[in-house]
Structures are given as structure tokens and as C-alpha cells.
């Protein structure tokens, strides 16, 4: 139902956006708009714990929210100059296409279809997620293949639902889905034993298990991850300079973590003589200028928001989710930054 709708929207949007941007200054219309406005407008979910969720004081917290802040600090030099716009799964792409937001950090999965059809492209992967299963430890199930004939609680209309259906069909297994829209209700049903397994993104499952406190051992997160869900930031097509800025705002955080540069010790690195660190922090090489932004771009990001590991620890570790494949490449993970040179 959404798909032809979105394709139609994309067609319209691309025809509207096709007009080339004749801008001076940064060479990017979006960056110029942001500078003029003095604010990055960032589309977030605003209702997903760990990614973007307002705390009790109404301040947006989470890994997506912090990545929006890094873009603001890279372009404007101030991490607080960001306006969060709550978007639903339905209106997120239109909001991006119509220019209502500059970019999306809305736990959106990078897929071929989305990049090819929706007039946007993915600049970063700030979280490698995947569909997993949570079962009660007492059932003794050790792997997803043992779930033949099981009832599985899942939210309707999600990519999880499709992923499970594909997985069970490919492996010639049977299952009964129990579709429940409401998050609290689905968790309650699982705890009450209405379904044998609860399936959604493994990050959410780990967080849910952690939240049970002392009873966490009664639940087991199965080791099988049955789908790839790389979640990242999305920008409009047709503004490559802005795309570069968002992408390198992300890579800078990985490079910073690789060199051990944190928000606390970044000042001490200003005297470093490691060439890549000097280039990253804007001491030589004019890297920021090449991107159309300030040379202090990465310094501001690290100083004001922190490196990738700090953002992770602040938002995801506290929910009890292990770093896993989101570790840096040299620690056995997938997070890898090309060299800054």
C-alpha cells in the first residue's frame, strides 16, 4: 500500500529536486541553507529508546539524536543548533524529499530499494542491527532452527515480519505469527507465555532482556541473526557536498575512536604530531575546507558530542546491548573509516 505511494512521491520529489543548485560559499545548497538558518533540521523517530527518545525533561536522547548533533557541530560548530522533527515510518521519506528536514537519522534500514527509488541516499551506518529471537530459557531452545511450529510475537507491518516469513520459508519450517501492534502489549504477551518467541531487532530484544533486571537470565537471546538491518543517516540525492559532510562527520567519529581521541582528551591531541590526527583536528591539510565546512569540523564534533564509542556507551551500553559487530574493525567489528588524508 505504501510502496507505490512512495514511488510516486519519489518521482515527484526527484523532478522537483532536479533543479541544480547554483550556490556560492560551500557549494552545497543544503549547507548554505543550514548556515543561513543557523540550525540543522534533523528527522528522528522520537519514540525509540536508545535511538531517539525524549527524556523526562523533554531533551532528545539516543544514538540517532547524537548523530544529528554531530552534523550540527561539524557544520555550525555548535551541537545544540539542531531542531528535531519527529517522523513516522510513513512520512519520513516525504519529509526528506520535500525539504522539511535536511537529513534523516531515523533508524532507517539501508536497502537497495530505498536508495534507488526514494530520491535519497545513505551517508552512514551508525548502527548495524539485525532481526533476532528472544525465548524463555526454560524452553531449552538454543537456535532459531529449533523454532519449528512455534508461535512468534511480532509487530505487524515491520520488516521483522517479512524477515521471519522469509527465513522460515527458506528453511522449510512452520510458525504461527501473533501480530500485536502495541509494544507493551507484545512484551506482556511474550512474558505471559502467549507466544514461544518474541522477534524484533536484536538491539531492542537485548534492551528488553536487560530491563528485566535480576530476571534477565530467564530469557535467552538466540545467537541467530536472520536479517541484516544497517541503520543509518539518509540525505537527499543531488547535493553531494552535503552528503560528503554527513558521511565524513560520521567517519571522523570512527577515526577519533581509533586514535583514542575522546571529548575529554581532545585538547591534548592538538599538540599531536601524528599526521592523520593533525589532519582530522584541522591543524593541517584543510580537510574541512575541502568538504565545504570549517576546518575545526571534527574537533567540534569530538569535543561537543564525543567519538563513536562514547556515543555508543552513553546511549546503547546503558540499555544492556553489547557492542558486537558495531565494534571498530580492528576490534572485530564492522565500523571502519577510510583514511583522513
Amino acid at each position: 500500500m505504501i510502496r507505490p505511494f512512495a514511488a510516486f512521491g519519489a518521482l515527484l520529489a526527484t523532478s522537483l529536486l532536479a533543479a541544480p543548485a547554483f550556490a556560492q560559499g560551500s557549494g552545497s545548497k543544503t549547507i548554505d541553507d543550514i548556515t543561513k538558518r543557523g540550525q540543522v533540521v534533523c528527522g528522528v523517530a522520537g519514540a525509540v529508546a536508545g535511538f531517539s527518545l525524549p527524556d523526562s525533561q523533554g531533551v532528545m536522547r539516543g544514538i540517532d539524536a547524537d548523530f544529528c548533533r554531530t552534523v550540527a557541530s561539524a557544520i555550525l560548530g555548535d551541537a545544540n543548533k539542531v531542531r528535531f522533527v519527529n517522523l513516522t515510518t510513513q512520512n519520513r521519506f516525504t519529509a526528506l524529499q520535500s525539504g522539511e528536514v535536511d537529513l534523516l537519522y531515523r533508524s532507517t534500514t539501508w536497502t537497495l530499494g530505498r536508495e534507488a527509488n526514494l530520491g535519497g541516499m545513505f551517508a552512514s551506518v551508525n548502527y548495524y542491527d539485525g532481526t533476532g529471537f528472544l525465548v524463555k530459557t526454560s524452553t531449552g531452545v538454543k537456535g532459531a532452527k529449533e523454532l519449528d511450529g512455534a508461535t512468534i510475537c511480532v509487530q505487524p507491518g515491520t520488516s521483522t515480519e517479512l524477515a521471519i516469513a522469509d527465513y522460515f520459508r527458506v528453511n522449510n519450517l512452520k510458525f504461527t505469527p501473533i501480530l500485536i501492534e502495541d509494544l507493551s502489549e507484545i512484551q506482556r504477551s511474550f512474558m505471559n507465555g502467549r507466544c514461544d518467541a518474541y522477534s524484533t531487532d536484536s538491539s531492542a530484544l537485548a534492551a528488553f532482556r536487560f530491563q528485566q533486571g535480576a530476571k534477565a537470565n530467564e530469557l535467552t537471546l538466540l545467537p541467530d541473526i536472520i536479517s541484516k538491518e544497517p541503520l543509518g543517516g539518509m540525505v537527499r540525492k543531488g547535493d553531494d557536498k552535503f552528503f560528503d559532510a554527513v558521511r565524513w562527520a560520521y567517519f571522523a567519529l570512527l577515526t577519533a575512536e581509533e586514535y583514542g581521541i575522546t571529548s575529554k582528551n581532545v585538547d591534548s591531541f592538538l599538540t599531536s604530531n601524528v599526521p592523520e590526527v593533525r589532519r582530522l583536528l584541522g591543524l593541517e591539510g584543510d580537510m574541512g575546507k575541502a568538504l565545504g565546512i570549517d576546518n575545526k569540523w571534527a574537533f567540534n564534533e569530538i569535543k561537543q558530542v564525543g567519538n563513536y564509542g562514547e556515543i555508543w556507551d552513553r546511549n546503547i551500553t546503558v540499555m544492556g546491548v553489547p557492542r558486537g559487530i558495531n565494534n571498530l574493525w580492528n576490534k572485530g567489528g564492522l565500523q571502519y573509516s577510510p583514511p583522513v588524508r
Binding site: 512521491g9 522520537g46 523533554g58 528535531f84 520535500s98 507493551s184 512484551q187 530491563q211
Partner: protein
């Protein structure tokens, strides 16, 4: 004998009416215990009500947990609440989240501003409800109050920080959408209702098409059009704000429904009223304003208020386009991992707020109905 005595001594000995014919006991006998079947039903229901009430009081008050301690890294620790799950309510979630539920993402230090706005709205309703203020100046009061509310919400002057309306949320959003929605939809609906009964074909067709088009689709799809489709048709950069688009969608939608209610009132008036007005040589607007509408609107007060109440609650549908009204703020508060699963408490809190507004509206409409219906009862 006794009757003559009473008559002789005036009011000295007035006998009590027999207890089994008048009074509460008699009422009980007549209504609740008048046969063995009704006695059984009464006892069974009374038992269930008492059982439920005791259970509820136990859950909501006696076993409830009112506060929870913070843990080492400064977040609240809801373990106590989780242990009490099903036994006692966890009001700590409200204690932690009430400001978020009421005001959404509005900057924390400036939340006195939306708080004042809520009271201004309530004050505005109260003043409008009192008959002694039903004068032309009331319109001025509305304009001024709504301007002050806008000033407080946006700020940007008098040293108040500017707050863009993406950060608004909670109860003020619900009140803004409902108040502006009905304030604009009601006059619009009167024109549409009159237009639908017009003899001018163009006006009539326009009104019929408008009403049928809007009534033919659910509110969700109208909001969806406003939020998702509309921006695509606009040139880039020229994009009315999301809240405004939702507000216009709500106005158009509720006007279509109210128009049908008003039209029912117009049709219920005897033809003689129209003819009498014509016979007096009144113009169309005089006839409508002085004779027809006052009578027609009085007839439709119950369905009007019914629609008002419905739309007050329907504003919660803006959640599908990412606007955080009262209900959505409650849901978002529940997405916090600390409080996941304590939905009963939050929804109960929200229900009390919605009920307070809707019940007052309903009671008030009964009062107005009685007042305006004096002529009929006389």
C-alpha cells in the same frame, strides 16, 4: 379517628408516610428487589462491583508504589515497580514523566509557559460558558486570549526564548487543535449547511461535494494527505508548517461533520417559520440570523456537543503524522526502557484528563439545552 385529630390540631401530628411505599427503602424494593430474579441480579452485580472496587483500591492506592530510588548512574530504578507488577500500581512513572506527558518536548525551564496556556484555555472556556458574558466583546476576548497563548507558546519576545512548534507537545497541542479546530469549523459548518440547502446550483453542488468528499474518507487519510501528499505538490521551500497543515485538515474535516448536524437542525424547522419570515419582508441574512439559526441550533445542541466531544478526542489521531499530542506524549513516555510495560498507569492518567474535559462539556451542554429550551417547556 386519627385523621380528624390531625385536621383539628393543624400540623402538630403529621404522620410519616409508610416506609414501604415512599422513601429510599421503598425505592430499593421497587427498583432493585421487586422479584426474585431482580434480587438475584442486584446481589450478583453488587458483589462484582464491590469485588472490583476493593481490587482497584488495593491496586491503585494501598499496594501502589509512589516513588522509586535512583541507581548509581542517575537513572531511576524501576525494579520495585516490576516486582509489584499486577499487585500494585506504579505511580512513580507519573511522578517521573508527568511534565513530559503534559508538555512534551517543550524546553524544561520554560514549561511554565504552556502551563499558563492550559489555564488560559480553561479560563477562556469558562468565560465563554457564562451567559452574562455572551456579548460581542466575547469575540475580542477570544482574539486577545488566543494571541496571548500564541505569544507564550512561541516566545521570542520579552526575553522569552523562541520555541518552534516542533517542540510543542502534550496537553497544549490537544487544546490548540481542538479549540482552533472547533472555533473555525463551527462558523464554516453553518455556511456549508446553508449552502447545501441553497437554491443556487453552483453553491449547492460545491457544498455537497465538499461534505461528501470529506465524509467519505477517514480523518487519518485527511491528515495523511495534509502531512505526506501536500508537501510534494508544493515547490521546495514553500512548505507550510506541519502543525498548521494538521490544524487545517482537522478544521475541514470537523466542518463537514458539523455541517450535517446543523443541516439537520435547519430541516427540522417547520416550513411556516421560513414563510413567516419571508412574509415579514426580511432579507435572507436577516431571516437566517434572527429567525432560522437561533431555533435550528437550539434543536441540535445534543448532536453538536456530541461531535465536539468526538473531535476533542479525535485530535489524538495526529500521532500518525508525528505530532506529539497528549496521548502520544503518554505513549512516548512509555517507550523509555525504565518504564516500559507500565501502560495501565499512564493510560489511566490520560483517561482522567480526557474525561475531565469531555464530562464538563457534556454537563454544560445539558445546562444550555435546559436554558434555551424554556420556551418549549412553558
Amino acid at each position: 379517628m386519627s385523621t380528624t385529630t390531625v385536621a383539628a390540631t393543624g400540623v402538630a401530628h403529621r404522620e410519616q408516610p409508610p416506609a414501604l411505599v415512599y422513601g429510599p427503602i421503598a425505592w430499593l424494593r421497587a427498583n432493585l428487589f421487586n422479584s426474585w430474579l431482580s434480587t438475584a441480579v442486584t446481589l450478583a452485580l453488587a458483589y462484582l462491583i464491590v469485588r472490583w472496587a476493593i481490587g482497584f483500591i488495593d491496586w491503585a492506592f494501598i499496594n501502589a508504589i509512589w516513588t522509586v530510588p535512583s541507581n548509581a548512574n542517575g537513572t531511576l530504578d524501576s525494579t520495585a515497580c516490576r516486582d509489584a507488577r499486577g499487585v500494585g500500581a506504579c505511580w512513580a512513572v507519573i511522578g517521573d514523566k508527568w511534565r513530559f506527558i503534559l508538555f512534551g518536548r517543550y524546553p524544561y525551564d520554560a514549561q511554565w509557559r504552556p502551563a499558563i496556556c492550559i489555564f488560559l484555555f480553561i479560563g477562556l472556556y469558562a468565560v465563554s460558558a457564562m451567559r452574562r458574558f455572551w456579548r460581542k466583546e466575547l469575540l475580542l476576548v477570544w482574539v486577545v486570549t488566543l494571541a496571548v497563548i500564541g505569544l507564550l507558546m512561541w516566545g521570542g519576545v520579552l526575553g522569552m526564548e523562541y520555541v518552534p512548534n516542533d517542540s510543542w507537545g502534550g496537553l497544549p497541542i490537544t487544546l490548540i487543535l481542538a479549540t482552533f479546530g472547533l472555533a473555525f469549523a463551527f462558523p464554516l459548518s453553518i455556511f456549508v449547511a446553508l449552502g447545501r440547502r441553497s437554491t443556487m446550483p453552483a453553491v449547492k453542488i460545491l457544498c455537497v461535494v465538499y461534505v461528501e468528499l470529506i465524509r467519505g474518507v477517514p480523518l487519518i487519510s485527511v491528515l495523511f494527505m495534509a502531512s505526506v501528499m501536500f508537501p510534494l505538490f508544493m515547490p521546495a521551500g514553500l512548505n507550510p508548517d506541519k502543525l498548521l497543515r494538521a490544524q487545517v485538515a482537522i478544521i475541514l474535516f470537523s466542518a463537514a461533520y458539523l455541517a450535517e448536524v446543523v443541516r439537520a437542525g435547519l430541516q427540522a424547522l417547520p416550513k411556516g417559520q421560513y414563510e413567516a419570515a419571508d412574509a415579514m419582508g426580511l432579507s435572507f441574512w436577516q431571516k437566517t440570523g434572527l429567525i432560522i439559526l437561533p431555533q435550528a441550533l437550539r434543536l441540535v445542541i445534543p448532536p453538536l456537543v456530541n461531535t465536539f466531544i468526538g473531535f476533542f478526542k479525535d485530535t489524538s489521531l495526529v500521532l500518525i503524522i508525528g505530532i506529539f499530542d497528549l496521548l502520544t506524549s503518554g505513549k512516548v513516555a512509555l517507550a523509555d526502557p525504565v518504564w516500559q510495560g507500565f501502560s495501565s498507569e499512564v493510560y489511566l492518567f490520560l483517561a482522567v484528563i480526557y474525561f475531565a474535559f469531555c464530562y464538563v462539556m457534556a454537563r454544560y451542554s445539558r445546562g444550555v439545552e435546559k436554558y434555551l429550551g424554556r420556551s418549549v417547556r412553558r
